[in-house]
């Protein structure tokens, strides 16, 4: 019975399947895709809109670069400030006071730090006054990342390779090397009652850092390899203290950083240098500084009495940040036009579907390709691909063109490595692509173009605007830029956030709370949610 009933059914089922197969073959995804692409490319306004998006992305950055002149002092003339470049190719700050001796071949340096103190600029009525002399106008106080310790450095040239073990104002003992690397050691600030012993040993290119509380039991903090460290390096004591910055809010748009150089003083004893090199005397050198320095420095020096060294320094040994106290801008500023391009892309993306509703074309479209999810996917692919190509072309043109213009006006551009540049270019294209898909999905859900365009622009641009105009507290800004689609602009951030550098991280300064691809993922999540909503609504509603 069951077999008999099943047998006659089988051919019928098969034929129905074939019929079902035949229809999708005509409406295969490739065909729907091709239909959507034909629609897009034959509407002149949309092609013009995408061209405008690309042009705006390039030209706004160009106008901004053309209008930005960096002068030096009151003379106003072009002043070419250049940061030293570290072993990794990044711009670095390398300003400190260095008391050193040559270290030939393998060996080690040990010292005990009994005190770390410092001086900050006087704050009066929100304005910082920095004295003219090294000590004038400064009050006692210590920056959290003031540093004093021992260091092995390839040479006294700024930007040369190094490894150091150091005590800090608020972050305990650290081992740092080659400007960007930072390893935490034991916590606490040194004092006469609880000094810190520090040691660095060199074996070939490998340097190991140790710390100890009493000088008997040593804790290894880390081992680092410094490629190409010369046979005779410089080893010794150093002190440095980063510039003090404070953000002040003023008027409608206001985050101007004010601040000034600070000083740190470390007191060392039990200093010993073990090496095969012939005995030589200690020598003190101010690394960096001077009137043309990119980083503000208040001076420095050292004093020796018996076995006790008092070293005072100013500056920093760290990656240089474009929104820090130094001068210059990063390549992301040449892409400031992305916001303008984004709005044009959003307008076209929303119209790509709302225009069909307005003219009733949507009914013909849905009759021709009844699988509505497939239609939405095809539209997303077409608009995303067009926006991606537009963004890619714009970013490839904008970065070299606008950087060259900014340089010609005396602006210093922070160097970035090739991988970062590729990430910024591809990321800008991907940002426009996903924003276009988001706009299309919102357009499909809302159907009316003015409301859809406004929704997408407000959702993307307004949180960013509120952040850069510093309306909220900085914690509020951080929240906003972690959750809002504008988090994706972190993909354009050229200089990473380094936890070992005190820095006011603000969107206006080109600094975002999330890592580049994480921020981009936030926008993707918004676009995915909008697409999901659009798919549900498109399936449920009559067109």
């Amino acid at each position: 019975m069951t077999a008999g009933a099943a047998a006659p059914n089988r051919p019928e089922t098969r034929s129905r399947r074939e019929g079902a197969d035949a229809a999708p073959r005509r409406h295969s995804f490739g065909h729907v895709l091709r239909a959507e692409w034909t629609k897009f490319r034959t509407v002149r306004g949309w092609m013009i809109g995408m061209t405008i998006a690309g042009l705006l992305t390039v030209l706004v950055g160009y106008l901004s670069a053309a209008g930005s002149h960096t002068g030096c002092g009151s003379s106003g003339g072009a002043c070419h400030v250049v940061n030293p470049v570290g072993p990794g190719g990044e711009a670095v700050t390398d300003s400190f006071y260095f008391v050193h001796r040559p270290l030939a071949g393998n060996g080690s340096i040990t010292a005990r730090v009994t005190s770390l103190s410092g001086q900050l600029p006087k704050a009066s009525g929100g304005r910082i006054e920095v004295g003219h002399g090294a000590q004038a106008g400064l009050n006692p106080g210590l920056e959290p990342w003031s540093k004093a310790g021992i260091i092995i450095k390839a040479s006294t040239r700024q930007g040369s390779a190094y490894a150091a073990v150091l005590v800090t104002g608020d972050h305990g003992v650290r081992m740092q090397d080659n400007y960007t690397q930072d390893i935490a050691g034991p916590a606490g600030r040194p004092s006469a009652a609880s000094p810190r012993w520090l040691r660095l040993t060199r074996s070939g290119d490998t340097i190991t850092g140790y710390a100890s509380a009493g000088g008997a039991h040593w804790t290894r903090i880390g081992t680092v390899a410094l490629a190409g460290l010369p046979a005779t390096a410089q080893a010794g004591l150093f002190a440095t203290s980063p510039a003090y910055t404070q953000t002040v809010t003023q008027g409608v748009i206001g985050n101007s950083g004010i601040g000034g150089p600070t000083l740190a003083t470390g007191v060392f004893d039990h200093v010993s240098l073990r090496s095969t090199s012939p005995a030589s005397t200690w020598r003190g050198d101010l690394i960096g500084g001077g009137p043309a320095a990119a980083y503000p420095v208040a001076g420095g020096g050292y004093h020796r009495s018996g076995g006790r060294f008092t070293v005072t320094g100013s500056g920093d040994i760290a990656p240089a940040l474009d929104n820090g106290p130094g001068i210059g801008q990063s390549i992301q500023l040449s892409l400031v036009g992305t916001f303008f391009g984004l709005i044009a892309v959003v307008v076209v993306g929303a119209m790509f579907i709302t225009a069909e509703y307005r003219r009733g074309l949507i009914r013909a479209t849905l009759a021709a390709s009844p699988r509505r999810g497939q239609l939405l996917a095809a539209k997303a692919v077409v608009i995303g691909a067009v926006a991606f190509v537009t963004g890619l072309a714009a970013a490839i043109v904008a970065i070299p063109l606008n950087d060259a213009k900014a340089r010609a006006n005396g602006n210093y551009i922070y160097p970035v490595n090739v991988l970062t540049e590729v990430r910024i270019v591809v990321g800008t294209a991907a940002l426009l692509a996903v924003a276009a898909v988001l706009a299309m999905a919102v357009g499909a859900a809302l159907r009316r173009s003015a409301i859809a365009v406004t929704t997408v622009i407000v959702v993307i641009v307004l949180p960013y605007l509120i952040s850069v105009t510093n309306l909220l507290s900085s914690s509020g800004d951080q929240w906003l830029l972690k959750l809002a689609p504008a988090a994706a602009f972190s993909i354009q951030q050229a200089i990473p956030n380094y936890p070992q550098v005190s820095n006011v991280c603000s969107a206006g300064g080109g600094c975002y709370p999330l890592a580049p691809w994480t921020g981009f993922a936030v926008l993707c999540a918004w676009a995915a949610a909008a697409l999901g909503l659009a798919a549900v609504l498109l399936r449920r509603r009559d067109a």
Binding site: G45, G49, V60, S64, G67, S68, H69, T70, G126, V248, T249, Q250, G251, V252, I253, G254, N255, Q329, L333, V336, F339, F340, I343, A344, V346, V347, A350, M351, T354, R358, N411, R448, S449, A450, I451, A452, V453, T454, I457, V458, V461, L462, Y464, L465, I466, V468, T469, L471, L472, S473, G476, G508, G510
Partner: protein, 280 residues
């Protein structure tokens, strides 16, 4: 019955047919269209709700830990205007581009051939509605700020008395915010008349409003930044909301609102000329 037939000729004698509909008729026609267009009431309610909601959220996120803290309580309370203006711009854009998308504009212009009068009537109706909605939104924001801010450190002890319209600068900020919204509506109306397509018009208006301040915040050149802040319709216009640190403003509050008024006037003139010389 004969009397009833005689009444219209009397009316026609008073308003000769050659003169077409008078200003009041145009105004009444535009008011009827706006009142009955689907979604307009909803949009105005959304403008009010979003303005108050964002203002309350900004007030809840603001902190004043000590005397001399940076934030400006009036500006925080009226932050919602930055969002509300987008909805106001939609209303203004739809009043014009809605007619273009349905072809209604041809009927409108056939009935009322004086095109500048049509645009003026639309401007009057939209501005009046936005002034009314803006007043409700701004008063609501002020109330929210007055209730929320003292709990976050904006107390008399820190130098901030409760927000009150009796305070000259706060009154100026509140009244100015209402005027700001009305001027944004006129800017949107002018832009939509010039561009005709609603998506392109709203993109143009919001780009002009939101993007210039972002560029101003990002450029490193201080002179360029100041010029951008003075020229951008949103930053210049919103200076009317500032009640503290007036010394550091790129423009005085009323001059800033004047810059926005100039943008709105320019958009209306451009839209009016295009409307006059172009086929509908």
């Amino acid at each position: 019955m004969s009397q009833a037939l005689q009444v219209p000729p009397v009316g026609r004698q008073q308003v000769p047919p050659a003169a077409g509909p008078g200003p009041r008729d145009v105004l009444h026609a535009e008011w009827t269209k706006l009142r009955t267009a689907p979604g307009m009431i909803g949009l105005l309610l959304a403008a009010i709700g979003l303005t108050v909601a964002l203002g309350a959220a900004a007030a809840a996120a603001a902190r004043c830990p000590a005397v001399g803290c940076g934030p400006d309580p009036a500006r925080i309370s009226f932050t919602g205007v930055e969002l509300g203006q987008a909805v106001v711009a939609i209303v203004a854009v739809l009043v014009v581009s809605g007619e273009y998308s349905t072809g209604m504009i041809r009927t409108t212009l056939a009935a009322m051939p004086r095109r500048s009068a049509v645009l003026a009537a639309k401007a009057a109706v939209v501005a009046g509605l936005v002034l009314a909605a803006g007043t409700i939104a701004v008063l609501g924001s002020l109330l929210a700020g007055r209730l929320i801010l003292p709990g976050h450190g904006f107390t008399p002890a820190h130098g901030f008395p409760p927000l009150s319209l009796g305070d000259g600068p706060v009154l100026r900020a509140a009244a100015g915010s209402v005027l700001y919204l009305a001027l944004i509506a006129l800017l949107g109306l002018g832009a939509a008349t010039a561009v005709r397509d609603s998506a392109a018009a709203i993109g143009l208006v919001l780009g002009l409003l939101y993007l210039l301040p972002i560029v101003a915040a990002l450029v490193s050149d201080k002179d360029l930044q100041r010029h951008l802040l003075q020229a951008a319709p949103m930053t210049a216009g919103l200076e009317i909301q500032v009640t503290t640190g007036l010394r550091d403003l790129p423009l005085s509050p009323w001059a800033g609102l004047g810059v926005l008024a100039a943008w709105a006037a320019g958009a209306l003139v451009a839209g009016g000329l295009l409307l006059r010389f172009r086929d509908a």
